[in-house]
Structure formats: structure tokens, C-alpha cells
Symmetry: C2
Subunit: 211 residues, 2 copies
């Protein structure tokens, strides 16, 4: 559509346009912005991308993104290695870390089982999770996956794979979000939160720690 | 806000977040996408950015972005060198080229006079434009700047600088956009398009070429 006055410019725009949510127009805006910057800054930008792919590795324990062989969470002596929280992606690790409520370690699956997208158990790090449970002194595995059909399928698959080991398997509590109006909660969530109602004392105890 | 598990990851996210319209969340999404790609592709991405800043130059004639000393428009023997269209940025060159209605050459100012942003005539390529008019066989200068206060100021400044040379100075026609409902045209535009009304035959003649 666009008539580029430079082949190279076109090439850079095409590269940016491969990023998710970035169309040709946005890509052009980003590239023209970069072109206006100091040479040093743009070089730093390019080199950081090159370094990223070379130096960022995944933790051999939990598969989280890491600068070293074992990530800073797995190598932290104060983290409880007996509790493993299974998540879909490193973004979920960030979300849970932000709550500052979890002191255990993680296991990043790298996705969820989704036959529609051609992702089976073998494409995820489930085997490695089974190994961790088999060899380590793990006592609890918390399944913190999406509350979708794919998430439930993956939960169930992992549950079956871990059944033979002496480990407690739990999932995140599901219910009405804090701050939400009951009126706007969907009926499935509302129904579940009625079924899994907790004693008032327990709810109160937790809310004292802040939400 | 985010707890990054890798210093380098954080660095790349920060770099992306400096781009216009890209916040931390979007930056993280882009970087995680890049991390999932093949090493070869990411390297190509980084290297293209590095090459861009090294190899892309501005045309010494019109200041358009170019792969060589003189851009492909200025070096095209079929373009009419006697008609120079003055625009603000290379994006405007692209827009006008896309219309396929212009066969002359361009002059990219690199901005418009805007005292509020501290941009004066000396920050733009106006001197170079005056030189082109002075030395070359230019017959018409088309001022194709934004129809804003800053655009009008710049138009007027250029007009005064070129007054002494035997050159016709024109501006883009201003009026109701094609396809627009009269109801929604602003009153200034509508008033001007009434004042500068054109003969029906002329309008009809142009619309035959397709809009």
C-alpha cells in the first residue's frame, strides 16, 4: 500500500509489523520515531534485542525466564521448595509474584493443552513437572491455570499424572472477584462460589492481611 | 510494578516502552513474542534495526529518506523537476505518492515552524529549499503543509523567502473532503470552500480521472 522511498525502511517496517497487534501504520510510526533518535540509542535498542535472544535462558528447574541456569526464585533459600505453583506462562509468574502472597516455587508449562491449536501434553513441560514431583520433596502442587476449558483439561491431565505420588494437588479458589458487584458476576462463577462457600471467620482472617 | 525474573528481559521491555504509544504491558507482550521466535528471526530483527540507522540517509536534494545519496524520486528522469512539492515529513511524501497524481519532486522540511515546541525556521530545511529555487529551473512550489496555525505560519514564511524569485507559489486546495457529509464539515472549511468554489466543469473534469 505504502510507497517507501527506501528499501531498507520498508524492511524494518515489515519486521515491526510481524509483532502482535502492530499493523503497518503503527510499525511505520515506530520506525520513523527510531530514525529520529540518536544513533547511540538506536544501536543500544538493536543490540539489546540481539543480546536478549543470546543470553536469556529458561531456568532448568521451573522453566521460568532467567539470566542464569537456575532462576532467582528457585535459587532463593527462603522460598519453600515443597510447594510448586503450576502456571501457563512467565506472565502468570509475574502476576502471582506481584501479589506478594506466595512463597513457594513455580513451574512454567509454556502453554496449556489445546487440541484446537495443536498443543498436546508433549509440547509442554509436564514431564519435567512429574520428574520434579518424583524426585524432590514436593508436598503440594497448586494448579494455577486459566479457568477455561483448556485450563480444566490441562488441570485434569496433570492431576492424573501426579495421582500416584504422595502430593496434595490444589487449584486456585474460584469465586466472585473482590470489589465486584454480585449483580455482574456470571452465574457459573456465582454458583461455584456458593457451593464452595467458606466460613466467615476464615474470610475475615484473610482480609486482615489486606487484599 | 512488574517483577521481572531476568534483568535483561526488563531492559528489553524498557527499550520497547520508549517507543511512542507502547506502554510497559504492550512492550512485555512484544518482547515475550520475540522470545518465542526462532533465534535467526530475532537476530534478523535486531540487525535490521542496526543497519537502518547506519545505512538510511536523507536525499541531498529533497531530504526524503533514501538508500542512496539522491533518492529514487529525485533521480527519476521522468519526474518533473520544475515542480517542487513542499511537505512536512516523509510520511506526507508517502501519502501524496499513494495518490499517484503527482509527477513532480518533493522537498521535506523535517517539521513545521512551531514556537511552542521551540522549532524555528533554522531547524527546518528551508534554506536548502531557497537554494534549490535559486539555482534550479523551478517554476512552481506547491506548499502542502498541515492546515493548522503552524502550517500557515510556515507557509507564510516560505512564501516571503521565495517572493523574490520567479516562481509560482501554490497551496493545496482546501475544502470539503470527498465523501464527507456537509452537515459534519466544520464551518471554517465550509466557508473557505464556498469562497474558493470551482466551476462545475472543472470539478467534473477531475472526477473523471477517479478520486
Amino acid at each position: 500500500m505504502h510507497t517507501y522511498s527506501s528499501k531498507l525502511l520498508e524492511e524494518v517496517v515489515e519486521e515491526f509489523a510481524t509483532l502482535p497487534g502492530i499493523g503497518k501504520k503503527t510499525a511505520l510510526r515506530l520506525v520513523l520515531h527510531l530514525l529520529k533518535q540518536e544513533k547511540r540509542d538506536v544501536e543500544h535498542f538493536g543490540r539489546t534485542i540481539l543480546r536478549m535472544k543470546e543470553e536469556i535462558v529458561t531456568c532448568r528447574e521451573c522453566h521460568n525466564i532467567s539470566d542464569s541456569d537456575v532462576c532467582h526464585i528457585c535459587s532463593d533459600p527462603y522460598r519453600d521448595k515443597q510447594t510448586i505453583c503450576v502456571v501457563e506462562s512467565i506472565r502468570d509468574v509475574m502476576s502471582i509474584e506481584n501479589t506478594q502472597q506466595f512463597t513457594g516455587v513455580y513451574h512454567v508449562l509454556g502453554g496449556i493443552i489445546s487440541p484446537m491449536d495443536g498443543i498436546g501434553p508433549a509440547d509442554l513441560t509436564i514431564e519435567s513437572l512429574v520428574n520434579r514431583v518424583k524426585t524432590g520433596g514436593c508436598r503440594e502442587v497448586i494448579l494455577a491455570l486459566s479457568t477455561t476449558m483448556e485450563g480444566d483439561t490441562t488441570n485434569f491431565y496433570i492431576y492424573r499424572r501426579l495421582q500416584e505420588y504422595p502430593v496434595t494437588i490444589t487449584t486456585l479458589a474460584r469465586g466472585v472477584a473482590i470489589g465486584d458487584d454480585l449483580e455482574y458476576a456470571d452465574e457459573v462463577t456465582l454458583g461455584r462460589s456458593l457451593l464452595n462457600r467458606t466460613s466467615f471467620e476464615e474470610t475475615f482472617k484473610h482480609s486482615k492481611h489486606g487484599t
